[in-house]
């Protein structure tokens, strides 16, 4: 036993020694003296502005909105030359302390992610009127002076995806499911259903949507378990659906697997372009309903450096806060793809209501 440890240590030391043989960098006067933030040698000028972010309990690696928001923050660091700090929450009880720590660290703008942080953000904003806040995917009934809500009319984009899916389906059955029945999830499903219904009205088609009926539908119960996603998607495929839109973060990857092995079926991604974020399944992705959280975070930071406003940011088709990704060639019938531009204009002008509620 002891010998094993010795040999192990020797090998490890050898590996480190080999790795340590490169030459020292030129001496720069007081380069590591402070040891606080790593100085990026980016061409951008450093701006004296600190943007911070608190995740919800999902963490910044959730392959969902925390991650998208974090991408916006890191992009702001690179392109705007600001300082950033982040705090990942692991439990509800972390929200308040994380916000306090960031206020104490001197953050100028603190971005929180998700409705679960709604109360904690409002509380911190009231206690620190000099600090600005922004919250992703949540809006307050009464606007707060130093909190900017960022939310997204994802149903507008999902409407287009639903229309395209209805026009593309060869079985006449399309489907969607969610992770948990919360508004930020069901808004996708509702837009999808509304888009398919609109297709039926316009063309006299008879496309059925499985998984959402306007008030309730299929949910896997969480945002982690890919097996549930696979089973749910398989269930839809067995009922004759040939297009599946999973609105459940990484659970959707399970659905992608089911779709891929079924063949002759398509997947609609959500949040980001899945041909990029899930390249293994790029060959079955019909399109993706894009929710550009990262862009909205970046824009909010950029605007706040000069002047903060608590005006809500609403991502729409018009400002490209939401949208759909390009279709693969030759799959979506041309008349259907051609109709989308008109629909987009109709939604922007308010002529078309992208939800089933209206």
């Amino acid at each position: 036993m002891r010998n094993t440890i010795r040999y192990g240590a020797l090998v490890a030391a050898g590996a480190l020694a080999l790795a340590a043989c490169s030459s020292a960098p030129e001496d720069e006067p007081d380069s590591t003296a402070t040891g606080t933030e790593t100085e990026t040698e980016a061409p951008v000028e450093d701006v004296d502005y600190m943007a911070c972010m608190v995740s919800d309990a999902g963490g910044f690696d959730d392959a969902s909105f925390n991650e998208s928001a974090y991408e916006g923050l890191t992009r702001a660091e690179e392109e705007l030359g600001i300082q950033i700090a982040e705090a990942e929450s692991t439990a509800e009880s972390d929200y308040g302390p994380n916000l306090e720590a960031q206020v104490a660290a001197g953050c100028d703008l603190i971005i929180t992610v998700g409705f679960l942080l709604g109360d904690a953000t409002a509380e911190a904003a009231a206690a620190n009127p000099d600090v600005n806040f922004a919250i992703v995917d949540f809006g307050y009934e009464e606007p707060i002076e130093n909190v900017k809500p960022l939310f997204f009319e994802t149903d507008e984009a999902a409407f287009l995806a639903g229309y395209a899916a209805a026009g593309t389906s060869s079985t006449g059955t399309i489907s969607t499911f969610g992770g948990i029945n919360i508004p930020t999830v069901s808004i996708f499903m509702d837009g999808f259903l509304a888009g398919a219904n609109y297709y039926n009205e316009e063309t006299g088609g008879d496309v059925t949507v499985l998984g959402w009926d306007g008030t309730d539908g299929s949910f896997t119960g969480d945002f982690d378990n890919q097996t549930n996603g696979q089973n749910t998607a398989q269930g839809f495929l067995d009922q004759g659906a040939d297009i599946v839109m999973p609105v459940a973060g990484p659970v959707g990857l399970g659905a992608a697997q089911a779709v891929q092995s079924a063949g002759d079926a398509w997947l609609i991604g959500v949040d980001s372009d899945w041909t990029q974020s899930a390249p293994d399944y790029a060959d079955v992705v019909l399109t993706s309903v894009l929710k550009n959280i990262g862009n909205s975070v970046f824009d909010t930071i950029e605007a706040s450096i000069t002047e903060f406003s608590n005006e809500p940011y609403v991502g729409t088709l018009e400002n490209e806060g939401v949208g759909i990704a390009d279709f693969p060639e030759g799959i979506v019938p041309e008349d259907v793809a051609g109709a989308l531009d008109g629909l987009r204009e109709g939604i922007i002008s308010g002529e078309i209501e992208p939800s089933t509620a209206g």
């Binding site: 009880s93 302390p97 720590a101």
Partner: protein
Amino acid sequence: MSDGKQDETPVDSTPREPEGAAGEPDAGSDQPSRAQSVLREILESSTLVVIMAIVASLAIGGLLILFADEEVREAATYFFSRPSDTFQAMGDALGGAYAAMFNGAVLNLNANDFAGLIKPFTQTLTMATPLIFAGLGLGIGFRAGLFNIGAQGQLLIGATLGAYVGFAWHLPWGIHLLVAVLGCALGGAVWGFIPGVLKAKTGAHEVIVTIMLNYIALNLVAWLLTLDTFQRPDSNNPISPIVDETAQYPLILGSEFNLHLGFLLALACAWGVWWLMERSTLGFEFRAVGANPRAARTAGMNVSKAYILVMTIAGALAGLAGSAQVLGTEKVLTTATAGSLGFDAITVALLGRSRPVGTVMAAILFGGLRAAGPTLQVQAGLPVDIVFVIQALIVLFIAAPPLVRSIFRLPAPAHEKEVAA
């Protein structure tokens, strides 16, 4: 962890058969299982081993901090041409990390007033409160030989009932808090009673039943939060209304600090559990059942009753841990209310060797690690995962006392020598 004296009392170290001893054909269901003897060995490990386990975990945590630090990695690539850079970067990284931990969990030396100075420690105590409650309950189970994994579910059900009383009923000041706290305890007790009864009447193994009840509790709460009764008016998000102020634990150090009355209640419970286990007949029965259920039955004790009572009390305490969340710090119910508290509490109870004083100490240690999380991330720029790695390492070392003893060359406890001889 200052209850070292109790270890010498022969409470838990009732003579045990050496493992694998031949000539025990009647190994019935009451025979202490292998899991139970491992459990007992952990409970018997000395205070020194526990402290050394913490030291070893912090040291390995330090190594990880070094690896996680960008400047150290950068300087290490040219270690041989200028080793001083590497050492300086290491010093900065470790110094920064441990300073951040200290500032976040004990005293904030950067603060400009006294309140700011002591705030981190009050935060540590706040974070420790639910762990004390749940750890105490689990400790009772462990000493009675029941490996209760269900604190998570018991906590959630307790929190649900307590939160409901808190936001849906509107009672006068004082009474409201009392009823809400009792609601928490009742919810947890019911969720503990179920596996207790199943164990006592049917022999269903408590580990499996409690794990399954955790899932049931979580999904039950997720479903309840889709109902209008549990949601805020005009909102479809799965988050309950804020509980009435009359049902919240009062802040004991004023509004500047988060420390609430729940902490004092937790200390009172610790005393109560000590009295129950060390001074009452019931507690003696629990310990006797834990030491050897067969012998306890022969001695005329009602083992089934003991199992049911132990699980119910443990559940009530876990439910009170839920009260620290919904009536103390969070003030709302969501599916994430329990976090990982129910599982952290298992570690806390084991680390405290299931004794009340030890559990309180261990909970404060873990509360401190959690309280240090934000400063560690924001001030030192380290991932919060370091905290969890340190926690996990502590568990690992505690679960393997011989490992710690061999690292620090500590002598083996007496009974192991006998077995070996």
